[in-house]
Amino acid sequence: MFTFLNTVSLFLFLISGVIYFGGLGWLTVGSLLRKDGIFKKKEHLTVLQELPVIITVGLIINYGLILIFRELSITIVIGIFLSLIGLCGYGLHFYRVHFRNTINAAYFTRVLCITFVCIYLLGPIISQPLEDWDARSNWFFPGRMIYVEGALNQSAGWNHEGMEFSHPYYPKLVPALAAQSAYVMGFWNEYLPKISLFFLLVPPVIWLFSFTGKSWSFLFLIFLFPFFFHKMLWNGYLDGYFALYFSISLLLFGRFLKYFHPVDMVGALVCLILLPYLKQEGVLALFSALTVMAVSLFMVRKEHPLNYRAIFTNIKHYIITIILLAPLFLWGIYKERWGLSSDIEPFAIDSFIRLTERIEEGDLWMILDYTQYMLNTALLILGIFYFALVALKKDFPVQALVVLLTALIYCGGLTFVDLIIPRDLELVLDTIKYRTMLSVNGLIYISCYFLFLKIEDRSVPPH
């Protein structure tokens, strides 16, 4: 009986968590996703298009609330209040738009698949204790500090002697989420805080199943995502989730280049904005992806003119952008005030000296050698697809080119960071490189997906 009750309470906690983030997200971006938002009147979104966007935005807003109010108890009360308002709005929207369109066989199959994948991966997430080194030291120890303090304050002990190993300047979205989960349940252990990973897992899985199609290419996509990340999905490292969101953002942007449906652009941007909240590399990922996106949109400006006046004169867009980026700047201000600084300073003279020294010593070749080793499988597959495309006399799809360019810029950025990092380079390459390269691998696989679609003479599934 107790087992049953425990199971029910755990599942209720998970479901209410997802609903909570959905409510917060709808309150923020609901005005964009509504029928009178940025969409043409004849277009309407399905629930599965809206849900991942609002849950991801909810995660960011929740983090923003923690940074503003600091105290977990106050944050939770205010968060629930705001989420309830958002849920009321979404309920109304759901009744008006989706109520009659939701239940059909195809939709039901997708929901079933999404639920299966999420529950299938939930097993190892909550049944395995936190064991891996950086997962404990970098992500869940700060979570424990926030939980113990009951707030994300300086007094939590970020400046205590010996804290350097935990890199206290790292983004705190997941630690704060872990602390919040433990706070709601009333205790800390080595299992429960990992529930935060489940909340991160749900949106990408929903997004992936929006690409459902009876094709080999979809099988290829779902075979790899999210499963090729292996234990990075449940061991507490954030590299797997970082790579997953990065890849999904370019996948959505690829679909945007095909149909020019705003929800894909909104989804891609939301995924990208989440990245700096997960890891430090997020800023580099955001920069590389936005650069390539901007260039590709500039190049299609004549064939697909976006209504830039509508974008740039609408105050709503500015407000939402500011709200979504505010936690990033707020954490930056706190870091400055609390004296938490990163050991990587790209524009410092020391970094430049280290860069030249390492290039002279031939370390660049060592880094490239490691990079090739980490990307080996993805490059083999890319080679197969590319030469198949050539042999079959098909055009190279622009979506694949966009993704590959992003991967190239991001990989170049990571190589630069490796050259200036003030730590033992060999240790960095042995222990960190395989994790940071997951994102590049993910992007190459996404470009392979677009190549595969072309080979199959198919289009990206609309939604």
């Binding site: 940025i38 080194w133 790899l224 990340f229 149909y259 020019f260 705003p262 974008i311």
Partner: protein, 215 residues
């Protein structure tokens, strides 16, 4: 409310494609007779670089296969999809963690389902899961809790082991490690080897850890 996107059409017409077509004619030129075009030479050149490069990266079978694959696709084009699918899934199955992930997750789920009562109890028990930290850290933690220490420090020998240091630092939190603390954790061997500890009082000695009071 004005719409953001005024026009929609298929990918083949987009300016990006046309722009790239002009900028990189070799890459994008389509023609019926491949042998007489730059496109053919460029890709042949690429293949002749790609295959030896992969050979040097120890992908020797792949290096030979990609040439055969290319020739096969040019000759027997009606079976191209099975050939591509087979090649890709062969690489995916043997070179990625995907199958391992499914197997590992299945194992975890099976074990969890079999021991669901115990697993749920563990998940919902405060401070559970500490068995994953090293013995030294666990013994130090138990002593900190037993004697309700306000702070502690560890000997340089223990400090050298980064794993032990980080695990006790984080699991003992909010009890903090302080250099000025009189409560010192040492290895039992250190007590015999180091004369410094002859004058201090040993609070408790465990298998791998001893707590000494050293004001």
């Amino acid at each position: 409310m004005p719409c953001l996107f005024e026009k929609q059409s298929v990918f083949s017409k987009i300016a990006c494609y046309n722009w790239l077509k002009k900028a990189l004619p070799m890459l994008f030129e389509k023609c019926d007779s491949l042998k007489n075009t730059w496109w053919w030479y460029f890709n042949l050149f690429l293949l002749l670089i790609w295959a030896p490069l992969q050979y040097t990266f120890s992908n020797r079978v792949y290096a030979l296969y990609i040439i055969i694959f290319f020739i096969l696709l040019r000759r027997v084009r009606n079976v191209y999809l099975p050939l591509i699918v087979a090649s890709i899934f062969f690489i995916l199955v043997f070179n990625t963690y995907t199958i391992d992930t499914w197997a590992d997750v299945k194992n975890y789920n099976t074990t969890t389902a079999k021991n669901r009562k115990m697993t749920l109890q563990t998940i919902l028990t405060p401070r559970s899961g500490l068995e994953v930290i090293p013995d030294e850290s666990r013994q130090m933690l138990s002593l900190i809790q037993k004697y309700n220490l306000p702070h502690y420090r560890i000997s340089p020998v223990l400090r050298k082991d980064e794993l032990v240091f980080q695990r006790i630092y984080e699991t003992a939190w909010p009890v903090k490690m302080k250099d000025s603390s009189p409560y010192l954790f040492v290895c039992p061997d250190e007590l015999q080897e180091n004369k410094k500890f002859e004058t201090c009082s040993i609070v408790e000695k465990k298998e791998k850890i001893a707590l000494v009071y050293l004001p």
